[in-house]
């Protein structure tokens, strides 16, 4: 006999003693009916009679004993069922079962049975994990569905059994809703402004106004403020996750989003803000500083990221660490300088190709480079940026037009390669004394990726010197003039010892100085020659006289100047001789060596025997080669050359040449001749005959 059975037996005996006159049979019947397992549940007539008899004959004590008996019964029953109770409905059914008999006897539930049932719920919630889980899941589902009625039904049922945990539970429910709305409205949205506020309003309107009565006794402002912060927290989390997948790639469309993020981070920059920025730093390093990306791609993302960071990180906390990491990583890339030069400076497509070829830029991917260059040039950040970001207010013009802003690049070029202090980097000790000034524009940011600006200055000089030589004038166009000025200012500062002077800087300064001087003197010389020849200066050939040694940057990019061992044609020779003799008179002890290669240019009209005219502007050597194909009847030139007189006549045949005869006429090496001839073949001018000679493709 179990202990409970003993207890029940004991109670039974006590009840028998208490109920007078003796009604042992009736008591037997009533007590066995009270058992939850008794069938049928609805009392028969006989049972009803017995109930009546027993309760009429019972005093307080007897009734108490019967209550105890009943409680022992249902408690035993409840615990025997305990593990089987998994759904809320299971418990509701039991609840109804336990109450039904009491209601039948007393007409209404009474406190003792209700207390008992509440304690059952409590035990369930505490001990029956499965039940609790399912119940919570149900509640959560109702919350998420905004199903107030069913939520309330469950919540009210559960409320008495909370046992002091209702605050925790309510918070959980609210967070659930917050998270749900955050996910629905904030995630993947980088276009909308005031997203936190809008989501919060949504929360209040659709959820809070209905539910708060169930969850809290009165609407509490402090609580809603905390809820608002939860939205901010979620927002921060989502936007950090999306930073490199959505925000950065979609910038500047994502600007509103960044502004919102910034306002959130600014509320607590020291902890939340710093943590976020640190994550962004690590995110960039792991995502972009990898060998699978091209240098221009890394720079492209870097620039985009910097633009974004400028908004959320005006103090440059993240940028500082990032620039160090990027510099460290990129300086192992041999194509860094080339990529920078190509990205920063306004070059034409063919100039780009030239720079890329010379600098062994095999890894240059032009399409991606274009993307990077475009990004560098895109300073348009919009007018509505707050005043806290002064550099965004400066009217940034398209790249490399630093109108009145030369100071920026100048400062930059004066930059001394010293690693910036890192706050986020744990290894380095903090140094609060040194105030970090974030680079003020993108050019700075990019140039900051260099360990030393030396190589960049080299490349810049190559490009600038090429511009000088190719220009029809003796000056640069205004855009390049500005770049030149910045370079000069930088070099000048070096000369004055304003910045640490490397020997190379002095050399560069010297080179630039002499290049400019050469141009000045060349221009003067051209005027003098034109004057002596009584020629109209505007139509007089441009002459540039270089101090060869100081134009090595030009030669490094464009190949050596070819100043000897080639022959002029009869058109060029008098001009060259004239220039040389005047120069020798003006500059005693000096003579000229003209470039017969590719830096000298000739433009001309080619009048074919068919009457068709084509215009070309080509290098001197290309011109010299083609000029020898002219018809024999070409006026004096023909006479002089061959000492015979032919009347000018268009219908006379063009000359044909073999490689050897051309070499004889020009002294251009045969391999070079082949290159030039193939140029003219490509232009559709020269035809290679199967017999091994070349002629003009002109015949109709």
């Amino acid at each position: 006999m179990s202990k409970i059975d003993e207890e029940l037996q004991l109670l039974h005996q006590k009840i028998v003693l208490c109920v007078t006159p003796n009604s042992e049979d009736e008591i037997d019947i009533v007590l066995s009916w009270l058992s939850p397992t008794f069938q049928p549940q609805i009392p028969t007539l006989r049972i009803k009679q017995c109930l009546k008899v027993v309760f009429e004959r019972s005093d307080e004590r007897a009734r108490f004993l019967i209550e105890q008996y009943y409680l022992t019964l249902i408690r035993t029953h409840f615990f025997s069922q305990f593990d089987a109770i998994v759904n809320w409905r299971d418990m509701v059914r039991l609840e109804r079962l336990y109450l039904s008999k009491v209601e039948f006897i007393l007409g209404a539930p009474v406190y003792w049975i209700q207390d008992e049932i509440v304690s059952f719920k409590r035990v369930l919630m505490n001990k029956n994990i499965e039940f609790k889980k399912r119940l919570h899941a149900k509640l959560e589902a109702h919350i998420l569905d905004n199903d107030l009625d069913r939520f309330n039904q469950l919540y009210q049922w559960l409320a008495p059994a909370f046992d002091g945990q209702e605050i925790e539970f309510n918070a959980k429910m609210i967070n659930l809703k917050v998270d749900q709305l955050s996910q629905e409205l904030m995630k993947n949205n980088v276009d909308d402004r005031y997203l936190v506020m809008n989501t919060y309003n949504h929360f209040i309107k659709d959820f809070w106004s209905k539910f708060y009565k169930s969850l809290i006794t009165e609407d509490d402002h402090e609580l809603t403020a905390i809820i608002y912060q939860s939205f901010e927290k979620n927002y921060t989390k989502y936007k950090c996750d999306e930073f490199y997948t959505k925000i950065v790639p979609q910038f500047p469309a994502s600007r509103k989003c960044l502004l919102e993020l910034r306002s959130i981070l600014n509320k607590d920059i020291k902890t939340v803000g710093a943590k976020v920025l640190e994550n962004l730093y690590h995110g960039f390093v792991s995502r972009f500083l990898t060998s699978s990306l091209l240098t221009c791609e890394i720079l492209y993302f870097y620039i985009k990221t910097v633009k974004c960071l400028k908004i959320i990180d005006p103090m440059g906390m993240c940028l500082r660490s990032l620039s160090k990491a990027v510099r460290k990583y990129l300086n192992s890339r041999p194509d860094l300088i080339t990529t920078l030069v190509l990205g920063i400076f306004p070059l034409h497509h063919d100039e780009r190709i030239k720079v890329a070829c010379v600098s062994d830029g095999n890894s240059i991917h032009f399409q991606k480079l274009e993307q990077f260059a475009k990004e560098v040039g895109d300073f348009s950040l919009g007018p509505e940026l707050p005043t806290a970001l002064p550099w965004f207010h400066q009217p940034h013009l398209p790249r490399c037009t630093y109108d009145g802003n030369d100071e920026l690049l100048k400062q930059y070029l004066n930059w001394v390669p010293e690693p910036p202090r890192i706050r986020l980097d744990v290894e380095e000790p903090e140094d609060n004394d040194v105030k970090y000034v974030p680079p003020a524009d993108l050019i700075h940011v990019l140039l900051d990726t260099l360990e030393s600006k030396r190589a960049l200055v080299d490349d810049l000089l190559s490009v600038v010197s090429g511009k000088f030589i190719e220009s029809e004038e003796y000056t640069l166009d205004s855009e390049w003039q500005k770049i030149m000025n910045i370079l000069l200012n930088h070099l000048e500062a070096t000369r004055k010892g304003a910045v640490t002077s490397e020997e190379d800087d002095l050399t560069h300064l010297n080179d630039v100085d002499i290049m400019l001087e050469d141009l000045k003197l060349s221009s003067r010389f051209r005027n003098q020659v034109a004057h002596k020849n009584n020629a109209y200066i505007g139509s007089f050939p441009h002459v540039k006289i270089l101090s060869k040694l100081y134009w090595r940057h030009y030669q490094s990019l464009n190949g050596r100047l070819i100043t000897s061992k080639r022959k002029w044609n009869d058109e060029m020779k008098p001009l060259v001789d004239n220039l040389t003799s005047i120069y020798e008179v003006l500059n005693v002890g000096r003579t000229l060596k003209f470039d017969t290669g590719s830096s000298s240019r000739v433009s001309f009209n080619m009048i074919l025997n068919s009457g068709e005219t084509k215009s070309f502007k080509v290098t001197m050597e290309q011109y010299l080669v083609i000029s020898h194909f002219q018809s024999e009847a070409n006026g004096e030139v023909g006479q002089e050359r061959h000492g015979m007189t032919t009347m000018g006549n268009h219908s006379l045949p063009d000359r044909h040449h073999t490689l050897t005869s051309l070499h004889h006429l020009t002294s251009i090496p045969k391999t070079k001749l082949l290159t030039i001839l193939s140029f003219w073949k490509q232009k559709g001018v020269v035809l290679e005959h199967p017999e091994g000679y070349f002629g003009i493709k002109d015949e109709t």
């Binding site: 020997e503 050399t507 010297n510 040694l549």
Partner: protein, 155 residues
Amino acid sequence: MQSLQTQETERLVSDPVPGITAEPHDDNLRYFQVTIEGPQQSPYENGIFQLELFLPDDYPMEAPKVRFLTKIYHPNIDRLGRICLDVLKNNWSPALQIRTVLLSVQALLASPNPNDPLANDVAEEWIKHEDTAIAEAKQWTELYAKPTQSEPQPE
């Protein structure tokens, strides 16, 4: 253009003379720390001699100033390390270079010239008792110019 001393410094580094090193001082690029190995078959063999070389402002119109820091027993080098060498004095030419000057110094170690002395006592000994003088020079080399001795021994 690079300055002359930069050219020379670079050449000294890129194309060093066997047995001679010359490094410019960090703070003063006109001041060089020089070491010269004692020439073979000379009393200074196996010795490493420290010298200082200073380019005067007028260089190359004026000869560089060279002085031994390591003590050395040599008729043309005195107790203060000063060197009696024509190219450092009257026979200087601006066409000479740091490397040629140092080569001359090395040659002086190989063939001392007691007839044009700077250290008179040493020269006298060298003329009178050459064997003793050479032994003395070897001993000094052993004492002061051993590679293991990290510190030079100026007077």
